[in-house]
């Protein structure tokens, strides 16, 4: 059964897509993070450079690499370079 991942976009990623939360359909077995990032870049071509510079999180935890599987119900966050302080 297919489902959805909740993509959360911050800063320039949010501005370029125009929303902070993007429901993203995934197959029941989920998708590797790399594939979600590829699909995002295809759907929002201007997002490419931001995605290249971003860190990604699954359920509020940083992904060490993009081989991790993101499953239906997961939250997938896109963090462009930080700028606090």
């Amino acid at each position: 059964m297919a489902g959805e991942v909740r993509i959360r976009l911050f800063a320039t990623a949010r501005q370029l897509v125009g929303t902070a939360v993007l429901p993203w359909p995934v197959p029941s077995g989920g998708l590797r993070a790399a594939e979600i990032v590829r699909q995002l870049a295809a759907a929002y071509p201007r997002l490419g450079p931001t995605l290249s510079a971003s860190r990604f999180l699954r359920n509020h935890r940083y992904l060490a690499d993009l081989a991790t599987t993101i499953r239906p119900g997961d939250e997938f966050a896109v963090h462009p370079p930080y700028g606090g302080g």
Partner: protein, 163 residues
């Protein structure tokens, strides 16, 4: 005693941090405060910064940084506070500080905290600016008024762009 870690919408007070860090009778206290500067940006004069955070990983990371400051520099107490939401020019956006028996660890811990917050905590800022002004008519020089006329001589605002 206020929390070492704060991510809040409301005002931050470096005075409060100094007072609080002093409670432990430490020997040395260092407090850093970062305020929003009245800069010019590409969009015009900065009025405020809108800070966005990803709350859960931001808290996790700040807590790690505080533990690391204690572990690495042996300070008695450290604070790391950051605002989110709109922070106006002149207001404090971030406060870090450390208290220690000696000054070197306190200085180093405070510096470590602010550098790592900027680099590794999921916080972003967006400039809220007043668009640069464009002349409607040529500026009229005023005799006998020096510094005070700087603002008057600036071209009036392109109000349409400001919306």
């Amino acid at each position: 005693m206020i929390p070492e870690l704060r991510l809040v919408r409301r005002r931050l007070s470096p005075e409060r941090a100094a007072r609080d860090l002093g409670r432990a009778r430490p020997g040395a206290i260092v407090v850093f405060a970062g305020t929003v500067r009245p800069d010019r940006s590409a969009q015009g004069r900065v009025l405020a910064l809108d800070y966005e955070i990803d709350r859960i990983p931001a808290r996790t990371r700040l807590a790690e940084l505080l533990r690391e400051a204690h572990r690495r520099f042996g300070v008695d107490r450290a604070v790391a506070w950051h605002r989110y939401g709109r922070v106006r020019v002149g207001d404090v956006a971030v406060v870090v500080g450390a208290a220690s028996a000696h000054r070197d660890p306190a200085f180093r811990a405070a510096r470590f905290l602010i550098e790592e917050i900027k680099r590794t905590v999921p916080i972003w800022k967006e400039v809220r600016a007043r668009p640069a002004r464009r002349p409607r008519r040529p500026p009229r020089p005023r005799a006998g008024r020096g510094g005070g006329s700087r603002r008057a001589r600036r071209p009036p605002a392109a109000r349409r762009r400001a919306g």
